[in-house]
Amino acid sequence: MLELQNLSFQVAGADGTKEIIKNINLTLKDHTLTAITGPNGGGKSTLAKLIMGIEKPTSGRILFNGMDITDMSITERANAGISFAFQQPVRFKGIKVKDLITLAAGNKISIAGACEYLSKVGLCARDYINRDIDASLSGGELKRIEIATIIARNTPLSVFDEPEAGIDLWSFNNLIQVFENLHDTSDNSLLIISHQERILNIADEIVVIADGQVKAQGPKDSILPELLQGTESCKFYR
């Protein structure tokens, strides 16, 4: 499905270049829900952006279903079948929820169709479909709409960057169900960056990234118990 080969990413800083991603090699299997976790600042979000093409790697290759997508633009990757849910969803003046979901679905969908995607993320569609995606929406509402756009896209790979950030507890319970449902009802693969134990718990595979490197990768049952012993003592975080 997705293969990262010797992937590195550097940025220029005040005191020379800083390596955010250090020669990562990683393969995601087909039809799996993979969770990427690890300490803040470890490079998780950067890795997600490299996969979507929002950032370009300094070196290394990215293969998607055997196709080298390293030099592809964001648009080309989106059309090749990758979706990306932002950690902090973007606001627009004058673009309505309905417009964004229609763009995401990629064709003219009915109001009923758009509403169905909103219902899946626990929003009462009638209240939201004609609202602007602007500052009048709360962070949690925006987040759910963001996830609805990813569901509407229905691509082979969906990348979620900390979907739990900014979401309340009630919404969070629903969020878990949304991911479980997505995983159970399609053959698409999900890659979720998260700190939440309950999200890690529904994953097939867990990848631990710290200091720009893969510290561990394996089935949930082998990685999660180790993580839950506490981050202080966790060997992956050292």
Binding site: I54, F84, F86, V90, K96, L103, A104, G106, T149
Partner: protein
């Protein structure tokens, strides 16, 4: 009317055929169609070019269309249209000007619209400007709007200029009476070498009067825009002006809001923001499969919607 004029009419007044209700259609400097109703009379001025529109008190749910189209290159005109709106009315007025200039001479329409709105009346005024034609002659429009709102009246003014007008200077002067309210929504896009200036002067004279002046503007290519909003609070009143602009390419935009409180109980606010399209907005739409150009178009269209 010929096909060019019909196309212009469609752009500025959304008219595909003769409108319902009262109307006066002006083409190349002459009235080509007029209809009056039991409550709305339209009379040609005798002292200067233009018309007087008389709306009887209590007229409800009626509309007046007064579109202007110019397709003759080099035509220059100055027209006065005065709306005398009685008390307790509820009406919609659609004006608008379309210029097609296929020649090398400048075409110009300057319209001075005055609104005398009676007590407790509600008016919705829609004005669209549109230019087309491949000629080198400029398409120029300088609209001036004068508004006097009597006690308890309400006027909503929507102005749109999206395409093809080379030069425009818009001036709106308004005097707001007791408990009356004026809401102005302006949408403006300039491109190429165009220049647009938009000036609003609102005097909040009445007790409990209010206004909200909202401008959404996009400037592309080498175009330039100047936005001036002056609100004077002369009584217990509430005033708000907002200019929100997107700048692209080599365009230049100035926004100069001015608020003056001449009364202790005047509450006035101005906001102005100019900036390019946010990078994360483009990225979000590109992750949905749009190209950068498509994303830009989507953002601009939404912003001006």
């Amino acid at each position: 009317m010929d096909q060019i004029q019909k196309t212009l009419l469609e752009q500025v007044a959304d008219l595909h055929e003769v409108p319902a209700g009262a109307y006066n259609i002006r083409a190349n400097g002459e009235s080509v169609g007029r209809n009056t109703t039991a409550h709305i009379d339209i009379v040609t001025k005798t002292d200067k070019p233009g018309i007087d529109i008389f709306i009887k008190p209590g007229t409800k749910k009626e509309s007046v269309h007064i579109p202007v189209v110019l397709s003759q290159s080099g035509l220059t005109e100055l027209v006065y249209n005065d709306f005398h709106i009685g008390a307790d009315c509820d009406i919609t007025i659609v004006a608008g000007c379309g210029i097609h200039n296929g020649g090398d001479k400048d075409s110009k329409h300057d319209g001075i619209h005055s609104f005398f709105v009676g007590a407790n009346s509600r008016v919705r005024y829609v004005e669209k400007h549109y230019g087309s034609g491949e000629g080198t002659g400029q398409r120029i429009m300088n609209p001036e709007t004068r508004v006097e709102l009597a006690e308890g009246s309400y006027m909503e003014m929507e102005t749109v200029q999206i395409k093809g007008v080379d030069s425009t200077k818009r001036v709106t002067n308004a005097i707001i009476g007791d408990g009356a309210k004026l809401v102005i929504t302006e949408r403006l896009m300039t491109h190429g070498e165009q220049y647009a200036e938009s000036e609003f002067n609102v005097d909040l004279n009445g007790e409990g009067s209010s206004t909200n002046v909202i401008s959404r503007a996009v400037a592309k290519d080498n175009s330039r825009q100047l936005f001036l909003a002056k609100i004077n609070g002369n009584n217990k009143c509430a005033g708000h002006s907002e200019c929100d602009a997107i700048i692209m390419d080599n365009a230049k935009i100035s926004a100069i809001p001015e608020i003056t409180a001449n009364c202790l109980d005047a509450e006035l606010i101005h906001e102005a923001a100019i900036g390019k399209i946010a990078g994360d907005q483009l990225i979000k739409l590109m992750t949905l499969g749009l190209t950068e150009a498509e994303a830009e178009e989507q953002i601009v269209n939404g912003f001006l919607k």
